[in-house]
Point group: C3
Chain length 418, copies 3
Amino acid sequence: MANTSWKNFFLSLIDYKTEKYVIAKNKKVGVLFRVFQLSVLAYIIGWVFLTKKGYQERDDAIQSSVITKLKGVALTNATDSGVHLWGAEDYVIPPQGERVFFIITNFIETPNQRLGYCAESTRVLDGHCRQNEDCTEGEAVISGNGIKSGRCLNSTGTCEIYGWCPIEKRHKPKEAILRKAENFTVFIKNFIRFPKFQFSKSNILETNDDMYLKKCRYNETQHPYCPIFRLGDLVHWAGHSFQDMALLGGSIGVLIQWKCDLDKDYSKCNPQYSFTRLDVKSNNSITSGYNFRYARYYKDGAGQTYRTLFKVYGIRIDIMVTGEAGKFNIIPTIVNIGSGLALMGAGVFFCDMILLYLMEKSTFYRESKFETTKYESARWKHKSRELKPLPEDGTPNRQDVWKGKFIDLSRNNSEVSS
Amino acid sequence: MANTSWKNFFLSLIDYKTEKYVIAKNKKVGVLFRVFQLSVLAYIIGWVFLTKKGYQERDDAIQSSVITKLKGVALTNATDSGVHLWGAEDYVIPPQGERVFFIITNFIETPNQRLGYCAESTRVLDGHCRQNEDCTEGEAVISGNGIKSGRCLNSTGTCEIYGWCPIEKRHKPKEAILRKAENFTVFIKNFIRFPKFQFSKSNILETNDDMYLKKCRYNETQHPYCPIFRLGDLVHWAGHSFQDMALLGGSIGVLIQWKCDLDKDYSKCNPQYSFTRLDVKSNNSITSGYNFRYARYYKDGAGQTYRTLFKVYGIRIDIMVTGEAGKFNIIPTIVNIGSGLALMGAGVFFCDMILLYLMEKSTFYRESKFETTKYESARWKHKSRELKPLPEDGTPNRQDVWKGKFIDLSRNNSEVSS
Amino acid sequence: MANTSWKNFFLSLIDYKTEKYVIAKNKKVGVLFRVFQLSVLAYIIGWVFLTKKGYQERDDAIQSSVITKLKGVALTNATDSGVHLWGAEDYVIPPQGERVFFIITNFIETPNQRLGYCAESTRVLDGHCRQNEDCTEGEAVISGNGIKSGRCLNSTGTCEIYGWCPIEKRHKPKEAILRKAENFTVFIKNFIRFPKFQFSKSNILETNDDMYLKKCRYNETQHPYCPIFRLGDLVHWAGHSFQDMALLGGSIGVLIQWKCDLDKDYSKCNPQYSFTRLDVKSNNSITSGYNFRYARYYKDGAGQTYRTLFKVYGIRIDIMVTGEAGKFNIIPTIVNIGSGLALMGAGVFFCDMILLYLMEKSTFYRESKFETTKYESARWKHKSRELKPLPEDGTPNRQDVWKGKFIDLSRNNSEVSS
């Protein structure tokens, strides 16, 4: 007994159950449904797979390493500082060729500063005073150049301070001293790696020609793989004028984008360069421009320290590397196919709604589609496929169950009971 | 013929096939199923779409550029180094306003170092010796200050080394010399861009008031868009004391988070600042604190090089910008809807299980739901809708096929054969 | 009336509708379908959930902070520069322990440069000349050392320039002066944070043993959590020879990978270190190697500036931290389950195709599965379940509708009309 029931159970497991369908010969809804199916198919193939590459696994956590090198010399002759020849070791800060670097385009040099007492600058608000009491001894001047000594100097109307004297002249420069920096060139070496796919590449043209990189300049159409940029061009492509930016400084972003389809050839994965100005250009001196100070320290014969203070304005270049790689992977393919199939289900739902409730013959279709089964008739006992024997009929009957209707087809008694 | 069959094929293509359903008038399972459907709907709408914004495409590969500027001066008077006025050009390393910068809060200055022979520090383990043989000539002292000369000096119990003499005194500082750095302020300019959506923004309040940024300080409730922070506040908000950290140094992270819903207004996308201590605070001198050394080189009148060695302790500020933007996109919407619909299918599966196997009338429902078709009767030949003519009956019959049962309804012979 | 219809509507809402299935007792297709279902289940459980951890939400926007510290001294004695003892304050650029740092392994020192007139180097192409007219006065030498004065010097065949003289000798170095840098050690402190999960960790072994970190060296099997690396080992693990790289410099990437399953214990989330050479090794001097220049400025007794120019070659170490964390989340679990379920639907589709069109009894199964309903008979009026009374028959009939076939089972007239 138990063996038979287990055997039946396993046999029933490998029966193939398929859903029963009603063919409603309604051309309108049929065409609508086919149109819907074709749209879903077109959407899946055209948009999800071809355009958005939905069959690919994506990696956007790009690892990037950037090395830069500037070339160019310029001679300056400023009133305060005299003649100076600027090379990359002077105007690039920091000098070691980093991803973010600053090029001096303008500066205010204050040489021979020594610690001592002098008047605070008139341009510093907190330094203004009318009498000695306005200058609290030992208090640092807010946004100032030193510590108040306690005396108010009438000659300038500012506090006397202890600091590096002579203090820096706080005037806005009128022209960019190192304006020739426009012609300097920067060589950007970029090495990227997509960790998910173990894919590495660099942006330098793989060429046997040694001289190519010595002479070429980046050009979007003719030399797209020569990452040597003239600074003036960089700023120009960002939509600004180098000379304007050089006066008070600014910030330029060089965006290197790697959009790679790794199902294609290695040589097809190449960077796109775009340039944008990062700082907000405004008349507000707090927010616009870019400057900072540094000092060079010296000792004189007596061992006393003195220094040269530099307030440098310039253009900061920020190289930002982004990238996204895609490679065929079975999982996103299946997820997207699965979603598309589920979407077909939505189409069935909507077409059913139209067929069953909105068309003129909807009641008919509803009755075709739905069959009611109700376990309520007291007339017959439901005992797995047995029919209550009818009195007159001696011939064996078979009870056929379909959708809750039982046809009791004995010879004499043809009744349909529900 | 062929035309007709093609025509029939195309006509059959646009027939609308809909699944046949059995209505089981079982309120319990019906209510259970509706409850399940409502839960799935509530989950999709409430959680996936409203809370997790599942209708949006997300971009978390934020591009960020940070420019910092510190302000503040402090006067120090140390035994070894004398009086020194510290400005931003002195205490910020590097000075060019980078994303990661270091502020000196304490230092050990060793001036006038010249190359020569002197005793290694007693605090260096590898420098200890008892006799000359312990000091191998030409060998560098591990974690030391120079190269062993081969002599062991009895006065100190350490090897004589060739290096920059006098060597640095390796004592742990007792107080932070530049403790007034607590009052310095840092102005953090952050420019971000979400490349997927071509969306850019900066964290500076767009205001016409020039004086606002000169005077304001960051305050989470009153001035959330003034990114000027007092250093002491920064450390305090990270949960630590500035003076404690200033002694041996440490590392603070400033996290700027941009969570932007780009379906909303541009002005709603604003950064959130949070502060955390990055280094592990412990008594282990190897891992705690933050210090490094640098040197300033000078040449005397004879052209001989001498230097001042600085061992600086301080607080390193690491500005980490993260962000995530979301914008409505049809694909994630559809993927999530699709998954929800597939989930409905799971509900059908479970309710069917309950109806067909767990309820008391389950056998009845099973028989209503499943119809068996079995191609095994030898009695009739299956030839597309034709019935084998029965001997007696001359009237034309129609063979009706339904689920494998054939009703042969000739006048005399009413038989149901399966 | 209205109440009744609303009541009926609500009652109909909680009827449970289940699809009708045809059981095709076809073992072959049944087994095929079960095999397909098992494969989909195995794929979902084995691949999507266990291998790819599809039940987890992922965060790959790792926040990282790196602090480095180098130790080691070396003595050099070069012809031009004399004896020099190099400590970390000298050979690490920048000195503050950043994520990207450069170690000097070779250098060309040009001391005592003063502004003046001298001959351009013969190795600079643009400096070559035959007569004065080749040297345009005031023009900067491309890739050169100064500004052309207008004179062509016969002794060298190059233009006379105004620049820092004596100019640097542009010879390729033959051996790495600071080759002992191979024994220097770098201590890499890495702090990471996964913002989505608010999870933080550092890569330093949490130990009470102070002496452990003073003495250990990184070893992949024995000391995996001691992030102190000997430079020579770093380069060796990257697959290159330190001495080869030290000659002209190069670039090494240290990849720190954090792959964390946050459903597991905190102590299981640990970094993996791997090492790779970043620059392309080639004979091309433009692209290979790594070097830059910086200068130290001095003033003599007369206040005249002179400088020492350093062209340094070395190894740049780029510490790149990547990571990915996963933690159980209900949404990706459901999305992946949903996709799997939809995939089952594909299985049904294919098995149906086989059953209905490819097997030998396919016509039979097609007719079992699909029922046609056609609203075209003029014989009877469709009025919700009423039969047109036939003339002779006085007994009440019931019109049974199934799949568009109507059995009019009056006693006398057994007709099947479609």
